[in-house]
């Protein structure tokens, strides 16, 4: 973990004191809402449908147990006893009261957490692969460079009023678990010979105009990374479409100007600013890297794991589904599902957060991660400790064996909470999970990612869901469009819209028809939904989704 300096502590203390004063002045009437709104948004405080919402950054999704315990304490003391983990590796509190927010921010600062730049047209929380530092096939841990980018971007004077929000993601693996191609800038750590560098992808993004990012540079050396990023954001700051909010993201800038033009402009800007980077950032990176040293792994008896695996089918199911290979063969990466069937995706109670913190402390080298898929990760657990971890999780409703399966659904807060939403997401996710649990088909279906957004902004990543669901308002009624074949990995693909939308009553049976069609169409159980879709295309799934249309066409062809 990065060790905060006196400067970091003083910075947070000063920011929080400043905001406390602003809240006081709003309450006593010295500030109008128009004056206060940009100030509260700079500190992550939104006003949503039913209440205020405080969005707290979890940089690159990394937490220690003390930080997780603090998140639990905040949820219980100032909220309704739970928090909501998001696709941006943030946590959102849905019910804070305005007067309490400065105290909440001070509590966060005690454990080096904050809500700065979790809103506004600025560089947002830098996200990263949630298996960072643990994955078996990782080139390098992406967190040190993500921390460097966080430090560079926080309060960067040139980038506080960009044309729109700006999102950066980093992965250190060939497998992309950070959806880097759907970010404004995606970075992949690569090797050229023995030299570590970065593939730089720009102009990805979902929302109203979904686009897969384009490779700007195949290899940027470590010492050239920050000046390159500064040049890119600087070019975007000048070229971005401030005249039209819906065309303001860098994906549109890249699309309208072309990647060659953008590259030329970035090259020119880079040449101008490069001399300003004198190497201090590299000294800083070296210090950060030292903070992210690997834990001291133990060597111990694995018999408890082998016995539990042989004797307890529930443990075996969980181990098969929720564990990932660790770079140390004696260890495993544990994904804790926040998607118990019928529950709200991404929500954890204070009690559950405390348990996860305690397990990290006792069995997980004090490390936790939040995944963009709204789950919690214990990245380093010795296999011999896995039964203890599992039974403790199970007792608190955290033992669901569904990671990567149909009920492991990403869902944005939707119209249950969000002021921008046009339909609800959460109840659809709850019903799909409950339905497939009833059918007992989840494990037969295998890897299948359903992602649901409650509006066109696509916070639920529906465009890159194998089955994507977009909730809209159609003449005052919730309506759900389906996209198929999306993929958020290294093979990133935008899903195809299947056809007309479905009402809230129709959407669960429609998803069921698609999944049952897949079971009929797959070559064998090893062929995943996405592989079957890529082999056969949209047509057979569309026929399953719209059987009446398919029947009519079939009769017309026969006549």
């Amino acid at each position: 973990m990065y060790s905060y300096t006196e400067f970091d502590h003083a910075f947070l203390a000063e920011r929080n004191a400043q905001f406390r004063g602003q809240v006081e002045r709003r309450i006593d009437g010295s500030l109008t809402e128009d004056e206060f709104k940009p100030l509260r948004l700079m500190n992550g405080l939104y006003l949503q449908l039913h209440a205020y919402m405080l969005r707290v950054a979890i940089p690159y999704g990394t937490l220690n147990s003390r930080q997780m315990e603090k998140l639990a304490e905040i949820s219980e003391r100032w909220d309704k006893g739970y928090g909501h983990f998001t696709t941006r590796q943030n946590i959102q509190y849905n019910w804070p009261q305005l007067r309490d927010v400065p105290d909440m921010l001070d509590a966060l600062a005690e454990v080096n957490l904050h809500a700065i730049q979790t809103s506004g047209n600025t560089i947002r929380n830098v996200t990263a692969d949630h298996f960072a530092g643990a994955a078996a096939d990782e080139v390098a841990d992406p967190r040190p460079v993500a921390e460097l980018i966080r430090q560079w971007s926080t309060d960067h004077p040139e980038f506080q009023f960009l044309p729109r929000k700006f999102k950066v993601a980093v992965t250190g693996d060939t497998a992309d678990r950070a959806v880097i191609k759907a970010h404004d800038i995606g970075l992949r750590i690569v090797k050229r010979g023995e030299e570590i560098g970065y593939e730089v992808i720009v102009g990805g993004g979902l929302g109203r105009t979904p686009m897969i990012g384009k490779v700007l540079y195949e290899f940027v050396s470590q010492e050239d990374l920050l000046p390159t990023l500064e040049a890119i954001v600087s070019v975007y700051n000048l070229l971005g479409r401030r005249d039209n909010k819906y065309k303001a993201r860098i994906k549109i800038t890249v699309h309208e100007n072309g990647i060659e033009d953008i590259r030329q402009r970035v090259n020119e800007r880079y040449a101008l600013i490069r001399p300003q980077f004198t190497g201090v950032d590299q000294q800083m990176l070296a210090r950060i890297e030292a903070d992210f040293g690997a834990p001291e792994f133990k060597s111990a008896d694995q018999t408890p794991y082998l016995n539990a695996y042989d004797q307890d089918p529930l443990f075996r199911s969980w181990a098969d589904t929720n564990l990932t290979a660790h770079r140390n063969p004696e260890y495993a990466i544990v994904s804790i599902s926040l998607k118990a069937h019928g529950k709200t995706p991404g929500d954890a109670t204070g009690r559950q957060m405390r348990l996860m913190a305690a397990l990290a402390k006792r069995y997980g080298h004090d490390e936790l991660r939040i995944s963009h898929e709204q789950n919690v990760i214990l990245p380093h657990v010795h296999r011999g400790d896995l039964p203890s971890v599992y039974y403790a999780l199970k007792a608190e409703g955290l033992g669901t064996a569904n990671i990567g399966l149909i009920s492991d659904i990403i869902a944005c807060p939707g119209m249950d909470y969000c002021a921008l939403a046009t339909a609800r997401s959460i109840p659809i996710a709850q019903e799909i999970a409950t339905r497939f649990d009833e059918l007992k088909l989840e494990h037969d279906v295998g890897p299948l990612k359903i992602k649901i957004s409650g509006c066109i902004n696509a916070c639920g990543h529906h465009h890159v869901g194998h089955i994507g669901i977009l909730g809209l308002d159609r003449a005052g009624v919730e309506n759900y469009q389906i996209t198929l074949g999306g993929d958020g990995t290294e093979d990133a693909t935008i899903g195809e819209r299947a056809g007309p939308g479905f009402s809230a009553d129709e959407i669960i049976p429609a998803v069921e028809r698609v999944v049952l069609a897949y079971l009929d169409l797959r070559n064998d159980p090893a062929e995943t939904f996405l592989q079957t879709y890529r082999r056969l295309g949209l047509a057979p799934f569309k026929a399953a989704l719209y059987p009446q249309v398919a029947g009519k066409e079939s009769r017309a062809n026969a006549a």
Partner: protein
């Protein structure tokens, strides 16, 4: 032909709690059934101006359409329905008290 004015209520969020609130004849209520029903456009405009001036109490004032069930206002759009009752995934919004 001007569009006929349909019944409305003045709604907003409370400054301190963020709660959805409705303007009543005498102040503000968290409950839609207490809301003052506005059936005259000029009167509605006046009530909006009065509500919007209360900057130390409320945020985001607007007129929301309602239908009338006798004297009781009912939301006409699902968004207003959720605002009146709270989120549908937990019983911990306004529905706790309804």
């Amino acid at each position: 032909m001007p569009k006929p004015f349909t019944p409305k209520v003045v709604t907003a969020n409370a400054l301190l709690e963020g709660d959805v609130i409705y303007q009543t004849a005498a102040g503000w209520s968290r409950d839609l059934k207490d809301a003052e029903i506005l059936t005259d456009e000029a009167h509605a405009d006046l009530r909006m101006i009065e509500a919007s001036a209360q900057v130390d109490l409320v945020v985001g004032v607007y007129l929301a359409d309602v239908s009338l069930d006798g004297d009781t206002p009912r939301p006409t759009h699902f968004r207003e329905d959720f605002r009146a009752t709270g989120p549908s995934n937990y019983v911990h919004g306004k529905q706790e008290h309804i």
